[in-house]
């Protein structure tokens, strides 16, 4: 703020508030819809204030078996599948990447550059570009409708390895030398010094990868045909079938709220690390 320009300051707040409202509006509508009966929601215009059926709707969603035209799987089960997948993807990726980045930065060995470039290349192609053949590999390995099938192909990209590599390059050389003089071998150094120092990056990556895993759509769409293995984002889509009026929109909206909850919680609780990780990652 360089000079006193009260009008500009007010304008700023107005614009920002408008932005916040527009951003929040869809979610507000969703929330309201999730608290009424299906009939009330379908009758345009839908009421704009919350109704009394909050607990009913959410319970019905969690248990499943409603009368909607689309899928009626239990949202509770789907949330569980999403949670497990997201955790496996986030933690798996972090673990593998810490080890790979360590190898690439702190060792010299033949083909090292080859590995580095091979890993780098995987940054460039998201799973959407190789869906056909990857599906075949997963099917051939008998991994359809399994947690492994849902998660392992998504651990293949190297964003985390790259990030850890960038971070490791900033760790002062003298720490390694001091550790060497102290008698620590490579794995000891890794465990006692490098990993503890990387915790901020790990936290940021966890947020990003958890959300990435939770929000996966195309891949789970292909590898799961069994309702009990649907993640919740697939489940939502499948609830909407046919024309608009036949769906139990209030349940769909309740499911949407539930589906948004865990990632939003993770982002809000770990906001500091998340922002730092995102912005630093692209440097």
């Amino acid at each position: 703020m360089v000079e006193r320009r009260p009008t500009l300051g007010i304008l700023a707040h107005v614009v920002l508030l408008l932005g916040v409202l527009i951003v929040a509006f869809p979610v507000y509508v969703t929330f309201v819809a999730s608290t009424h009966t299906a009939a009330e929601v379908v009758q345009a215009p839908m009421p704009l204030t919350p109704g009394p059926h909050l607990v009913d709707n959410y319970l019905r969603a969690l248990q499943g078996g409603g009368q909607g035209a689309g899928s009626t799987a239990s949202v509770g089960r789907m949330m569980f599948v999403s949670l497990v997948s997201a955790l496996i993807i986030a933690l798996g990726k972090i673990a593998i990447s810490l080890l790979s980045a360590f190898a690439i930065v702190y060792f010299r060995f033949p083909l090292r550059n080859l590995f580095f470039w091979a890993i780098f290349v995987t940054l460039m192609l998201p799973v959407e570009v190789r869906i056909g053949p990857t599906y075949k590999v997963v099917a051939d390995l008998g991994m359809l409708n399994t947690y492994a099938g849902l998660t392992v192909p998504l651990i293949a990209s190297a964003t985390a390895t790259f990030l850890f590599r960038q971070f490791f390059l900033t760790v002062p050389d003298e720490l390694v030398e001091a550790a060497r003089i102290d008698g620590a071998g490579p794995m000891r150094f890794f465990k006692d010094v490098l990993v503890p120092l990387s915790m901020t990056s790990v936290a940021a990556l966890f947020v990003i990868q958890f959300i990435y895993g939770w929000n996966q759509y195309l891949w789970p769409l292909l590898v799961t045909t069994d309702e009990s293995m649907y993640p919740v984002v697939i489940g939502i889509k499948r609830m909407i079938a046919g024309g608009e009026a036949q769906n139990e929109w209030n349940i769909v909206m309740a499911t949407a709220m539930l589906a948004m909850l865990p990632p939003a919680l993770v982002v809000l609780l770990m906001q500091k690390w998340f922002v730092k990780g995102l912005v630093d990652a692209e440097k």
Binding site: R5, L8, P45, E128, P133, D173, I234, A256
Partner: protein
């Protein structure tokens, strides 16, 4: 690009053991399928998958001659330009104001970043719901207050508008974060010097802050285009399913449809290869230019 650390450990077997998990996963689930996609794009198999014919570049030629594919290209181009341009413009606006606000910028930041957490699929469902011709609250308002006959199920332009809005809504937080960080890293002394020189806020923004943001802007441009190409699949599948007709079938959607619904493996593989080429080009451009740091 493999920068060197002066100090390393010596071991013959340890680095291999450390790399093994990642190497195995990317070999099986990245390189092998990518190679397969390349192979399949040069082949054609019948609907039952029992015979495979080597057809060289015929699949690619067919793509080029297929009006549906070219239409999809155009759709994708329009979609990504709209999403990138609107997304960047809106978030730049919000970030510029958030940077200016003395108190509360962190609160605004919190309130604006959480759509990042929303799954694209969920975003698609939400926007579909709001804009649904018969029951959507916004459609209702549009038709009663503005007399607009809104129907994304029948009107291709309406459908495109719908997915653009949903995609931009989701992406605002990401862009906003980067722009805000970029603005906050510009030294205050530059802005103060400009103010002393007599430049007013509007002029200062366009002549000082915006040029200094150019690396961020360029970076976000590439990211948004890649986002529009790929991460929006879920939004489209959840709201328009590529319709009406094929009006919102972007390239990646077509790959999915042709490969898994129409079962044209060769064609789908060829489309995948084209997409791969596009992404690689975009990423290379991004790295080349970002490394050079676009500055004035």
């Amino acid at each position: 690009m493999a920068a060197e650390k002066r100090v390393v450990f010596r071991s013959a077997w340890l680095p291999w053991a450390l790399l093994a998990p990642q190497a195995a996963v990317i070999a099986a689930f990245f390189f092998w399928p990518a190679g397969q996609a390349l192979l399949q794009s040069l082949q054609q198999s019948d609907a039952f998958g029992t015979s495979v014919q080597w057809v060289g570049l015929e699949n690619f030629r067919n793509l080029w001659n297929d009006p549906g594919y070219l239409a999809s290209f155009k759709t994708t181009a329009v979609f990504s330009v709209l999403v990138a341009a609107i997304g960047i413009a809106l978030s730049l606006l919000l970030a510029a104001f958030a940077d200016r606000v003395v108190r509360g910028s962190m609160v605004y930041r919190t309130l604006l970043i959480w759509p990042y957490a929303v799954a694209p699929a969920v975003a698609g469902v939400l926007w579909f719901f709001m804009f649904s011709p018969s029951i959507g609250i916004v459609s209702y308002t549009l038709s009663t207050t503005f007399g607009l006959d809104w129907n994304p199920l029948l009107n291709g332009d309406h459908a495109m508008t719908l997915i653009v809005m949903a995609a931009v809504w989701k992406q605002i937080s990401y862009n906003f974060l980067f722009f805000l960080a970029g603005l906050q890293s510009i030294p205050k002394s530059l802005i103060e010097a400009a103010a002393i020189d007599g430049a007013r806020p509007w002029r200062r923004f366009w002549t000082i802050q915006f040029p200094l943001l150019s690396p961020t802007t360029f970076f976000l441009l590439v990211i948004n285009v890649v986002y529009a190409f790929f991460d929006t699949f879920a939004i489209i599948d959840a709201s328009t399913q590529g319709g009406p007709g094929k009006d919102t079938a972007i390239l990646v959607y077509k790959v999915y449809y042709d490969g898994f619904k129409a079962l044209d493996l060769g064609g789908s593989a060829a489309q995948s290869v084209v997409l791969m080429a596009i992404v690689v080009t975009l990423t290379v451009i991004q790295f080349r230019f970002i490394e050079k740091k676009v500055t004035y």
